[in-house]
Symmetry: C2
Subunit: 210 residues, 2 copies
C-alpha cells in the first residue's frame, strides 16, 4: 500500500506517489530507521526524533508526514505489505500450508525479529494494531488461492472457507512462539499444516458445516 | 501455586504458607489491586506505589515481598493458577474442546479483560511472560485428561499428543481475538474445536505421525 497519507489509518483509496523520487527515498530511509530502532530498543526506544536522526531526515519532515510513533509504525507495516509476495504452489494443500508455515516459523523463531517487535508494539499503539490487522488480512487474502487450488483439485469441499482454514494452519505457530513462548520446535510448521489440511479434507471448514 | 517467594520466577519447590493468615490477606489485597489497576490504566499505570495505595498495604511491604511490577504481575498469574479449575466432561472430544473454547472466548472477547491486559503486559515484562507461560502450561496439563478420555473412548489414536491437539483447538481464538483483532464471531469457539477434533480423529496429532 503506497499512500500519500501513510499514517491516516483508514483504508480509503489513496493517491499513488511517483515512485523513485525524493518522497519515496525519504520514506525508505524512515521505514528502515523505524525497523532498526524497534529491533534495537523496542517500542520504548522509538521516538520521532530518534527516527529522524537515524534516517538522516529533518525532524520537521518526519513530524509532518508521519505525525507520531503510531503513524511511523503503521507505515512500516503498510510498506511491508507493498510487495509482490505470493504463497508457494507445491501441488498439494498440505505442501502449500507447510511452505507458508515454514516462512512464518523463520520470522517468529529466529530471535528478536521485526515481526515480533511489531506485534509487541501493536499492544502499545492502536494505529500499529490496525495496520498489523490490515497487513495480516491482506496476507490471508493472498493465500486464499491455496484453498481455491485445493478445492479445484478436489482435495477439500468447494465451500471450504479459506480464512478459517488458513488461520487454523498458522495460529498454532503464533500461539506457541509468541504467546506460550515455547522453545522453537522444527516439527511445528509441518504438524500444524498437516492437522489443518486433515481437518479441511473432512469438511470442517466448509461454510455450511454446522 | 502458593509460594513464599511469589516473585522468584523459578519453578523450584516452595514452602507453603499458612493460609488465611495476615500474609494471605495481604496477598489477596495486592493481587486484587494489581488486577484493578491493570484493567484501568494498563501496564503504564502499574507502579508499586499505586498498588500499595490501592491495596491499602504499606509500600515497604509490597517492595519487600514483590520487589517490582514484574514480581507483582507474576504473582497475579501464580495466584490465578492456584485454583481447582478442571475442563468440562461432556462425553465427547468435540464437546469438551467446545466447552473449553467457550470459556476462552468469553475471557478474550468481552471487552478489555484481565486476561488480555496480562497478555499485553507479558510483552513488557520478562517476569510476567514467564509467569504467563507457566500459567498456560499448567492449564494445558490439566486439559490433557480431555485427550486421555477421548483416547479411552476410541475417538482418537492412543498416541495422540495432548498438547498439540489442545493448542490446535485453542490457538485460533488467541490469533483472531488478540492478534488479528477481528470482531468476535460466536461461531469461532465451536468451529475451532470441531476442526481440531476432526484432525485428531485422522491421527494428525499422533506422536508417531511423520
Amino acid at each position: 500500500m503506497d499512500s500519500s497519507t501513510p499514517a491516516s489509518g483508514n483504508s480509503a483509496p489513496t493517491v499513488r506517489r511517483r515512485t523513485g523520487g525524493r518522497s519515496a527515498r525519504v520514506r525508505a530511509q524512515v521505514v528502515e530507521a523505524v525497523g532498526a530502532l524497534l529491533l534495537e530498543a523496542g517500542y520504548d526506544g522509538l521516538t520521532v526524533d530518534a527516527v529522524a536522526e537515524r534516517a538522516d531526515v529533518h525532524r520537521t519532515t518526519v513530524y509532518r508526514r508521519w505525525r507520531d510513533v503510531g503513524g511511523l509504525l503503521a507505515d512500516v507495516l503498510d510498506a511491508a505489505a507493498d510487495d509482490t509476495w505470493q504463497p508457494a504452489d507445491t501441488g498439494t494443500l498440505e505442501g502449500d500450508l507447510t511452505a507458508l508455515n515454514q516462512e512464518l516459523y523463520e520470522a517468529l523463531s529466529s530471535g528478536p525479529t521485526l515481526t515480533t517487535a511489531l506485534i509487541a508494539a501493536s499492544f502499545r499503539s492502536a494505529e500499529a494494531a490496525a495496520a498489523l490487522s490490515r497487513f495480516w488480512e491482506d496476507r490471508y487474502e493472498r493465500c486464499a488461492v491455496v484453498v481455491a487450488r485445493a478445492a479445484a483439485r478436489g482435495e477439500v469441499p468447494a465451500e471450504t472457507a479459506p480464512r478459517a482454514l488458513l488461520v487454523a494452519a498458522t495460529a498454532p505457530l503464533y500461539h506457541e512462539l509468541l504467546l506460550l513462548r515455547t522453545a522453537p520446535d522444527p516439527a511445528l510448521p509441518d504438524r500444524a499444516a498437516r492437522a489443518a489440511a486433515a481437518a479441511a479434507r473432512t469438511g470442517a471448514f466448509a461454510a455450511a458445516a454446522g
